[in-house]
């Protein structure tokens, strides 16, 4: 306990730095993963069979293989195929975004599917173009279904990005490794990192539940 407090006092900037890295990685992953996921979801729902199939395979591969394996893959491949210099952090972020896009596309698809079919029919019967039906009628209503699930995805990513520590990307689990290797103490920094994760996810979960209640109330 004494050691734990000492480490905390001495190394708190390292942990804070790591926490910042974790939040930043998770936020970038979910935000850009949502943009990419929306594209994948639209392709998946396309009436053009080829788009539909390609998006389906994309989702299957990313959801059907371990994320750590995907991180290794992109970490190895991206620097080779990119014309510019790709940092480890860059490669890992891209990998996280691509992985998240598969899950998020399914969140979006489910959110769209949950919109009352009568809304499609009414919008189409007025003569709205398919693009406007989607943009003006369906998506705004689907957002209510999608938003809480996306926030939960963010919470999952806060924990999931710990895998980036394998590649020494700056985040909270890497902070643990850093402190561990300088102090030769394993358990205490592990507990500190764990506590920080727990506090952050608990606060976020509480915020998501509040958001869900508010969205429900506005129905």
């Amino acid at each position: 306990m004494e050691k734990l407090i000492k480490i905390l006092i001495r190394y708190y900037p390292v942990f804070l730095h790591g926490l910042w890295g974790t939040l930043w990685l998770a936020a970038a992953t979910v935000l850009l993963g949502t943009v990419l996921g929306l594209v994948v979801a639209i392709l998946r729902m396309s009436r053009i069979k080829a788009f539909n199939t390609i998006a389906g395979i994309y989702i299957e591969i990313l959801r059907g293989t371990p994320i750590l394996l995907q991180l290794y893959f992109f970490w190895l491949m991206l620097p080779k195929i990119m014309p510019f210099k790709m940092t480890d952090t860059g490669a890992i972020l891209v990998a996280l975004i691509i992985n998240a896009s598969a899950y998020i596309s399914e969140i979006i698809r489910a959110g769209i599917a949950a919109v009352d079919p009568g809304q499609w029919e009414a919008a189409r019967s007025l003569g709205l173009s398919e693009k406007n039906v989607m943009r003006r009628i369906i998506l705004p209503q689907a957002v209510k279904n999608i938003l809480p699930a996306l926030c939960n995805e963010f919470i999952a990513e806060v924990k999931g990005t710990s895998l980036a520590s394998v590649f020494f990307v700056r985040e909270l689990t890497t902070a643990y490794k850093t402190v561990q290797s300088t102090t030769f103490l394993a358990v205490q920094p592990l507990l500190i990192s764990g506590m920080i994760y727990l506090i952050v996810t608990t606060v976020l979960s509480w915020a998501v539940r509040r958001l869900e209640r508010r969205l429900k109330a506005s129905d």
Partner: protein, 243 residues
């Protein structure tokens, strides 16, 4: 003879193995008010929904002012000329009353917002909803939602209005306020195709009644001859149950 505004020729529709429409050929003249009645599951709603291709017919054709719209790629352009009102209102819950009405005219007909809103307000006044202009639909009663849905369709200045059991989901005390709006529309010369269970109303406002059962038109005629001296055995049986 004047060309009908809508003509269906041997219209067929099946969902997988289930045949719902077995060849319906109907002409609807401009300004005519046609009510379609029949038992549940008879295909009457499916027929109506084929007219603007919310359901894709599996055979036959639909002519809108002589043009076959069955194979048209840009069906949205035709839908702008064919208004539709649904049983469950399907108003847009995330938009205010006025935005529900002006959305499509502004987006698809490129009408300036001020002009679209002025017209929407006139329509709202006509159905007694002007005071709800800035409300969201969740604040409206069923009858008010349905009147909004009618106004939303009218704002596109359609040449035909399709009603799909417009009062079936309403509490009894709200049926009349919606029927009054439809009756008012009928007397203004709008072409109306109305799928309904309201026999009294159908008899009152219609120029013609179509009785559809088992996917075909079993009988058609003027309201008086249809309700007082039906010829077809199925019609007689149906009317004996509902009247």
């Amino acid at each position: 003879m004047i060309e009908p505004i809508i003509r269906t020729v041997d219209l067929h529709k099946s969902f997988g193995d289930i045949d719902v429409l077995h060849g319906i050929s109907v002409d609807i003249a401009a300004g005519e008010v046609v009510s379609i009645i029949g038992p549940s599951g008879s295909g009457k709603s499916t027929f109506l929904r084929c007219l603007n291709r919310l359901e894709e017919p599996t055979g036959g054709s639909i002519l809108f002012k002589g043009e076959d719209i069955t194979k048209k790629k840009n069906i949205a352009a035709y839908r702008q000329r064919i208004g539709m009102v649904f049983q469950n209102f399907n108003v847009f819950p995330h938009m205010t009353v006025i935005d529900n009405i002006t959305l499509t005219p502004i987006l698809e007909k490129k009408i300036p917002r001020a002009e679209a809103e002025a017209k929407a307000e006139a329509l709202l006044a006509r159905v007694g909803l002007l005071d709800k202009r800035n409300e969201y639909p969740r604040k409206l009663s069923g009858g008010q939602k349905q009147r909004l849905a009618i106004v939303r369709a009218l704002a596109m200045e359609p040449e035909v209005m399709l009603f799909d059991e417009p009062t079936s989901a309403l509490d009894p005390e709200m049926v009349k306020e919606v029927l009054n709006v439809i009756a008012d529309l009928a007397s203004s010369g709008m072409t109306i195709v109305n799928v309904t269970h309201e026999m009294g109303f159908a008899r009152e406002v219609s120029d013609r009644i179509l009785f559809i059962d088992e996917g075909i038109v079993q009988e058609e005629g003027s309201p008086d001859e249809f309700f007082t001296s039906p010829r077809c055995a199925r019609t007689i049986e149906f009317l004996s149950k509902v009247l």
